[in-house]
């Protein structure tokens, strides 16, 4: 392990254990900000709606290429994970958070099992067939790619999948 990797691992643990550090970091950074808050009303209750999951926790199928961890500006691409993919075929590539708990139980960052249980219990109308997954660390020129290309593409795919509402989970 080189010094850069070590420094990153220390930072990951500090940000995990000291929430105020994240807020301090966030105050000094620029984000895609806006006064306009988008709003699409629910067409029908959740118990009659198809719910999709989207995550920025770096989840992907082992068979798919991992997210790019070498580019300091991150990776604006996305991966498609079938919601019923066997757990052994799914992994996480993301070095900017501690995913040791999520490695043991994917539901810590992506509640696929909980969502399917809620559907079986009648709380949710349906579960969308695919999860769309990003690696949340995106900066520099990749922000534009995410905003103008990747995110709208995923939005179109969610509609095509029949999603009627989406729950997003971060890292």
């Amino acid at each position: 392990m080189n010094l850069g990797d070590l420094g990153n691992r220390v930072a990951v643990q500090l940000f995990k254990r000291l929430p105020w550090l994240g807020d301090a970091w966030a105050r000094r950074r620029r984000f895609v900000e806006s006064d306009f808050v988008p709003w699409t009303p629910m067409g029908k209750p959740v118990r009659q709606s198809v719910i999709a999951l989207v995550t920025t926790a770096g989840v992907h199928r082992r068979a798919d290429p991992p997210f790019d961890m070498t580019d300091p500006d991150g990776d604006p691409s996305f991966r498609v994970v079938p919601v019923d993919a066997p757990r052994g075929e799914v992994m996480i590539t993301h070095k900017y958070y501690d995913h040791s708990a999520a490695d043991r139980d994917l539901n810590v960052v992506l509640p696929v099992d909980r969502l399917r249980e809620l559907q079986a219990a009648g709380h949710v109308g349906g579960v969308a067939p695919r999860v769309y997954s990003f690696m949340g660390h995106v900066d520099g020129a990749h922000v534009r790619t995410l905003m103008e290309t990747t995110a709208p593409e995923v939005a179109r795919r969610l509609r095509a999948d029949g999603a009627e509402a989406v729950v997003l989970t971060p890292a």
Binding site: K16, P38, T56, A57, N107, L110, A155, V167, P170
Partner: protein, 83 residues
């Protein structure tokens, strides 16, 4: 991300562990938990906890009417007892 999905006509709720960022990015609906990074649904194998958080998020989809609202269930990390 939430903006793009809403723009396509699909309502969204985002779980967030970062209130400062959420205040600035202003997603349509958010559920804030004061949990450590990497644990938006809680602890590993804590089924009741994960189910409750997911139900909270889905419940907010049904009930929230105010764009930009942030729901705060206030669960204390590893202290709250989930039934």
């Amino acid at each position: 991300m939430q903006r793009a999905i809403e723009a396509a006509g699909v309502p969204t709720i985002g779980i967030t562990l970062q209130k400062e960022i959420t205040r600035r990015v202003r997603p349509p609906r958010a559920l804030y938990l004061r949990y450590p990074f990497g644990h938006p649904m809680g602890e590993a194998f804590a089924t009741a906890q994960q189910r409750t958080i997911l139900m909270d998020a889905l419940g907010a989809l049904d009930t929230l009417r105010t764009p930009g609202a942030i729901v705060e269930p206030g669960y204390r990390w590893k202290r709250h007892r989930f039934a």
